[in-house]
Symmetry: C2
Subunit: 368 residues, 2 copies
């Protein structure tokens, strides 16, 4: 079976690597000139809105999935006339628009931070009264890795914030004093079976995911699964989905979801019985889902801007290196390492070393 | 770093898949028209004895390794003038010749079955007196998967046996009434560090490996490691090596070794902290070795001649499918499945199903 993937970046690359042993061939469509998935599978270069290209793409595949949520809906409109989409158009369209997304959470009675739509400076000033300060002005579209967000701490900052988003349609959200950010990675089959990996705790650096830790025996696991299952069923979702949540005491506020495999699920390659990449392909291809149990304690460290020397990463016991074959650039995700151990407490020394290496430290340097 | 591999079959394919996350690119040289490694990496098609081709191959790589032991020594002679070989020429040359191999075992004081060189019918008749019956006449070269072997049960069968091997130089070996066949997969780094995976018990069907089981907490582990370490050091070996042993009571008789990753080590992809494929690449590339501990109980079922439906294999809990992308043919290894579980006893029901599927049974058929 041939799986068409919209996008040819590292997520498509790891999907392709998971597909080969299953006999599933991944073929990416990627507008950017450089597509790191091409090193491990097939990539068709070109624009998502080029209908001739979409026709060629559709002709060579059995089903369409995506590694990016910001794909033009016209591409999905065209492709769904010819091939099955998994996940479907609505699952992707809603994830592209924070207002549709938060409204869906609200309709499904998933708790969220207080939010108000903002389409003008007047709206923003009024919204600040409703939501309170501090708050975050977020563009409805094209936000990821902290992009398209302005923090408002004082009423006087409204004009500058509105100018920063350049008049884009927005939401104003209350800034939640959360205890931690967690995500639940889930997979749903074509028959509606849902499975959930252990919750992951996520730490960010400059708005980009830095470290994820799998939370084994987490009391909030069941609640997160309930929230996520409601979302999966409402969307009639097929494939892997990541729901990001803020933990506030014993509550979980839904922040956003990604209709795809997710950075906070990379630890599942070594840390879980079945990885998010394999289970996404299984769901999309109509194969039985694999178990999502943790195989061991696991954490992941992102390599942003540069990949440390392989010799330094692999000197850490039970560390597993994943480079993406991308040119390094500041702020660009170019690889990660998964760290495994028999118990969560045993992860800490290795994690400290990996974070140090990720931050540009060399092996043998004193670790702060 | 670019790793040149002599051969482009399933072992090269699984090496290439293990290499991508490490940033190691595998480039195979393969005489056969069909090379399943080409689906996941680079393959240069052509003969091992074509010097122009070898020159091109050498120019594009940093180090040479092999996935086959039966590679012409002239190719190694040429390549070692230009690139480092890992493992080295002698490790491969000795493995190509059962007499050199058994003589090395003898010199290293590794116990073996009683063996005598046979170069004529007269030699064979005399050897039967020394070795006793039953015995096995084995060609010195090109034997694998039970090929080039004739079992002798009566003195009168000597002439037919000698005719069956067509005058090829041979050994006569005593047929050992062994309790079971086990193999130890080991890896040795450029610095001489040796690591060993848990022993594997191997069951054959029609001379081809059928099922391997990792033996956790096996009392003979230490003895097997001692034998294997002596061999690795004598050969100044670099990379993964598999030593096949016959267990007779509390003794282990060395049968043969493979200077490469081995079918009986495929379970390490999911079942061990570091797979044989990744550790072979780490050793060859001069990177630190990964841990060889088992992550769980594990077994492997070979798919020979046909691959069962993916839906049936993946319906088995904690079963992991590996297809090789090869055209099915009788007697051809075309895939395998690894089965994992928390304890060895928990493997049995799933193993029964996988063996049934491997033998051509369909999902839901009664299992004998």
């Amino acid at each position: 079976m041939k799986i068409g993937i919209l996008g040819g970046g590292q997520l498509a690359r790891m999907l392709a690597l998971a597909g080969h042993p299953l006999g599933l061939q991944c073929i990416s469509l990627e507008p950017a000139a450089e597509a790191c998935a091409a090193q491990v599978g097939s990539v068709i270069a070109g624009d998502f809105t080029d209908e001739d290209l979409l026709a060629d793409f559709a002709a060579g595949i059995d089903v369409v999935t995506t590694e990016v949520e910001h794909v033009p809906l016209v591409a999905l409109d065209y492709l769904q006339q010819h091939r099955r989409l998994a996940p479907g158009r609505r699952s992707i369209a809603v994830a592209q628009d924070r207002l549709l997304e938060k409204t869906l959470f609200h309709d499904l009675e998933l708790p969220t931070a207080h939010f108000v739509p903002v389409d003008s400076l007047e709206d923003l000033v009024a919204a600040m009264q409703v939501v309170g300060l501090p708050a975050i002005l977020k563009t409805r579209r094209m936000g990821y890795d902290g992009k398209g967000q302005v923090v408002l701490r004082e009423a006087s900052a409204a004009e500058a914030a509105w100018s920063a988003v350049a008049g884009a349609p927005c939401l104003l959200e209350a800034m939640v004093p959360f205890d931690r950010e967690v995500s639940v990675i889930a997979v749903r089959s074509q028959e509606g079976e849902c499975r959930f990996w252990p919750l992951t705790e996520n730490l960010h650096h400059n708005g980009i995911l830095s470290v994820s830790r799998a939370l084994l025996e987490e009391p909030l696991q069941a609640l997160a699964e309930q929230h996520c299952q409601r979302l999966l069923e409402a969307l009639d979702y097929v494939g892997v989905l990541a729901l990001e949540l803020f933990q506030v005491g014993d509550k979980l506020l839904a922040n956003e979801y990604a209709p795809r495999v997710h950075n906070s699920g990379h630890w599942t390659i070594e840390g879980a019985v079945t990885s998010q990449f394999e289970n996404h392909l299984r769901a999309v291809a109509g194969l039985p889902l694999g178990a999502t149990d943790a195989r061991c304690a696991a954490a992941m460290v992102n390599f942003v801007g540069h990949v440390p020397a392989a010799s330094a990463v692999l000197a850490v016991a039970d560390a597993h290196l994943h480079v993406y074959g991308k040119q390094p650039r500041p702020g660009r995700k170019v690889g990660h390492a998964t760290l495994c151990a028999a118990h969560p407490g045993l992860l800490e020394p290795g994690l400290k070393t990996l974070v140090h290496l990720a931050q540009g430290g060399r092996e043998g340097d004193a670790i702060a």
